[in-house]
Symmetry: C2
Subunit: 632 residues, 2 copies
Amino acid sequence: MTTFNYPTNAPLKEALRKFRELLISEGFSPGIETVPVDQAAYRVTSEAVYATICSPYRPVSTMDGIALAAGLTYNASDDHPVTLCKPQFVPVYTGDPIPDNCNAVVRNEDTAYESPETIQIFSSVSPKQNVRQIGEDICAGEMILGSFMEIAPAALGAMISGGITEVSVLTRPVIGYIPIGAAPDSNSSMFSSTLTEWHTIPRVYPIVPDEKDEIRAAVKMALRECDMVLLGSGSSAGRENNAVSVISELGSILCHGLAIKPGKPTLLGYHGCIPVIGIPGNPVSGLIILEEIVRPLINEWYRIDHPDKRICEVTLTKPIKSSPRYEEFVRVRVGEVGDKLIASPLNRGSGVVTSLMKADGLVRVPEESTGYEAGETVSVDLLKPIERMSRTLVVTGSHDMLLDELADMLHAKYPDLYMMSSHVGSMGGLMAVKRGETHIAGTHLFDEKNGTYNTSFIRKRFPKGNVKLIECVYRVQGLMLPKGNPRDIRSVRDLTGKGLRYVNRQRGCGTRILIDYLMKKEGIDTESIYGYDHEEMTHTAVAAQIAGGTADAGLGVMSAARLYDLDFVPICTEQYDLLIPDEAYELDIVQKVLEILKSDEFAARIEKLGGYELHHPGTIRRVFDDQAAKEA
Amino acid sequence: MTTFNYPTNAPLKEALRKFRELLISEGFSPGIETVPVDQAAYRVTSEAVYATICSPYRPVSTMDGIALAAGLTYNASDDHPVTLCKPQFVPVYTGDPIPDNCNAVVRNEDTAYESPETIQIFSSVSPKQNVRQIGEDICAGEMILGSFMEIAPAALGAMISGGITEVSVLTRPVIGYIPIGAAPDSNSSMFSSTLTEWHTIPRVYPIVPDEKDEIRAAVKMALRECDMVLLGSGSSAGRENNAVSVISELGSILCHGLAIKPGKPTLLGYHGCIPVIGIPGNPVSGLIILEEIVRPLINEWYRIDHPDKRICEVTLTKPIKSSPRYEEFVRVRVGEVGDKLIASPLNRGSGVVTSLMKADGLVRVPEESTGYEAGETVSVDLLKPIERMSRTLVVTGSHDMLLDELADMLHAKYPDLYMMSSHVGSMGGLMAVKRGETHIAGTHLFDEKNGTYNTSFIRKRFPKGNVKLIECVYRVQGLMLPKGNPRDIRSVRDLTGKGLRYVNRQRGCGTRILIDYLMKKEGIDTESIYGYDHEEMTHTAVAAQIAGGTADAGLGVMSAARLYDLDFVPICTEQYDLLIPDEAYELDIVQKVLEILKSDEFAARIEKLGGYELHHPGTIRRVFDDQAAKEA
């Protein structure tokens, strides 16, 4: 066992505080440079900026008209115009200086020339009327902008008006990124675009092999060229040994290992005042460490406050379980249903970069907490504007690829509208409707008693009605099999074959209910099927397993099989409907989706996916007729 | 009179709607280009992007450990380890593919090598434990990002993981800006930095003389090179004649003159699908037209929704008067006092660029409205994060230059804190405290009955106490006079001299109360003093008038006179205090300001300004002792 002389599971906040203090005591701070004012936009001032001239620097006209001494216009009116001769008046345009001996301007509309030299005035003016005074905008010597303030375009304009030609600003930090060994390709461009957006200068070095000498050379060069150095690597502790040795040798290590998840294998080191940070290789961990460690250091550099994060309270749709050993960051999607903000936790794997992309917010589960229950109210740091939530359609329930197409069509047609879908199976969708946590639920629940879809389930769970069932598509379910069907599977019965690896869908989803029913009908003991407990959340995930060779069969929709060029044995055609609570049905965003369902473009896209039939998409199905009500 | 065949006072919304429709019908839309994925950050997709590979593309380990068939670990524990020999196990690092015939990973901590070939396992694992499945992140064929979506860094990472190498995006619009004639210098850099921030490509042309031929040549060139053309000029209608003729000649004019203020002299024209927009020369009008006309067109181009503006309800501290002929945009500062958001209207001159810089929000006064009263609740479009408001100290009352220094010191020391000060005079400050609309009020109210400052006013207006009076500075008030004192003014009595132009402060401010008292004491009729009704809002504004030669004398503080190198005749030393309501006194931000008042750095800065004495700044003055309470 190696013994470390630094913490290996440091709480984030504490580690960051120590790291900042240490770096500041070592002299971590920006340089100061003077830049021409017209190149200073979005830089940060290093000292207060004072106007050197007044603006305007002498009285100017605010109108097109004639300048004169106000007293000359006394009692002038439409009925009793006053006639003046040059040089009693001087024509001026807006922005022109007021000549000496003049103190007001009569606008052109209230004058009429009798000759080039004489003019009639139809309206009196008082002194200073239509005149901007000296220093109305800026007085010389006034502070235009204080220290450590960002120079927005308007501030730039104010500085130029105040006579400033050059401005003293903080240098931008140069942040080097050295990818080591197996670091994913995608990190370099993700990190550099993020660092650019944060107004720093990223410098991405070529990938360095995981050899001490090579790493040492690269780090030495970066230490000469940069204000901060990031070392990227596979997130494995084993793999970081070389980087760790090099950092200990060239500088010091404050800690290696943070008590956060994702982001644990982070290393905080330094060489003098230059932070040297080992960033986990997983893209999600990497971006989180950029946000949680690198960004606070950039803010320290610029002396700006933490980015204005909006925190709000949300209701969880699914439980979040967490280890009490770590502070855990869970990415969530956030939507507004009724007047409730609801959050669906996304896939938490630290390699799951799509979860970061889809995330509307982060829930922080503190150390020592074991997590939250569904329905609990928790705080979320919003990553997107809260206004967007009210323009986001929340779809919860059964997965179908057509939902992505629908989302795309909605946003392409109405750029201010978004759709988020969360795959919790048909039954999960019904429950979400019941709890008021979704606008739409995709559902295809088969009732083995009467061979119908959805209606009996809905009547049972919504005895009072208050919901509408909308016809969406009919889709072909069947067995997805490797190309060429090597095991010659023709029916569900063939799934019992020796050594066959099945891949299933999760409990509560319509496809799982269907396969359970088929198994029961055939009298097959599902225990005898290897992999029947291997659960995936989507049709595509099942197809990907089969295409990847880790499973031999799975039940799913034809469109997913086509996508992966798999063989497909049709089993049945099922109804995939949308359940919509009455309150949501009235919403404009829901009506727009129904409109799209009825469109030819939707039909064309569905046709392309394959395996669907369209009858009357977008229309209301009869669920609660009198007969049905009696049965219920 | 010229007759126009286009509207000259078009309502903004209507004009913009027509302009957009017209441009779209002419073919205003982005091109599409393919860029390498690592250069696609913050571009907008032109079509949905689908993954071409799964990520991970085969099962990989999530731990450093050994891969094996899970069944081999059955019942392994600390007490009963299981011993395995190669090739039963394969060492793997995080991210490594799982070898065939293995389906789980035991982490290193739960193993111990007996020899390089044999290992002890202290913990059992189930199948798939510590393994990321094929497609856990992205399944091939899944939609990664829909059409017309901005590619944030996380989306970039997801695309790279999903096998995307190139992505089809919308071209960035090239927006030309041609400054004509007298356009202020500052506009080019303000506009180009704003346009860059909005992800467009600004192209600033050299200043063109206000001659038809020259303008025509410049516009023709811009029409060849740009997707949108902006013509900048003096805001005067007269000056725009040449630009107008050229636009009518080369294209068409939709309208010239919008019913908004500032921004009236805007021209909306087009040449085919290229918008040609005449932008007013005043910087404030210019930035507003950029925001209200150009930005919606950019959003149309990118198919993105309007920027997420946060609208909130605020209480006005001053009335806003508005002409019913125009939709008026009034810039306001916003602060949070108690649980109330309060807004102070800023100087509304369209040339007053500092008002834009200081603005936290915009109040839109619709056409047909004559404005709002103080205390009325109105909607404001916030320009800054609402979170900042709660970290902003609101100072309302008498003006002193030390307030700017204080604001600068506060923000420099505590980067997340801001201070906004609004100059309404001492009495205005007291009223703001009474209405709960300020944290601090600067006050120097002289009681002519007993020669004291502030205390008697406060006892009278706050009979219940609930406020604290904090000593700030003693400052020298006196007559500010042109350099060399050409009129040989030695006292207030000399202000009655023939032809002397006085410049005064506004009613209700302490300096005005002082001069009124001095005049009364001397028995001078203020009607006899020319310019006694010429009111400025700050000491510096008074000094600027005198330095600029538009006035001969004014009462003000010595620091302002020094700043403008004016002569100064001291009249008295007065107490400038800070009045703070008890609730605000407890606030951390207020305590920090008091701390700064007591600091040596504050003393040094005040010394540099000149004309001040410091006794016990930051300490509480006795106002409500027993004796005082009886008097009240």
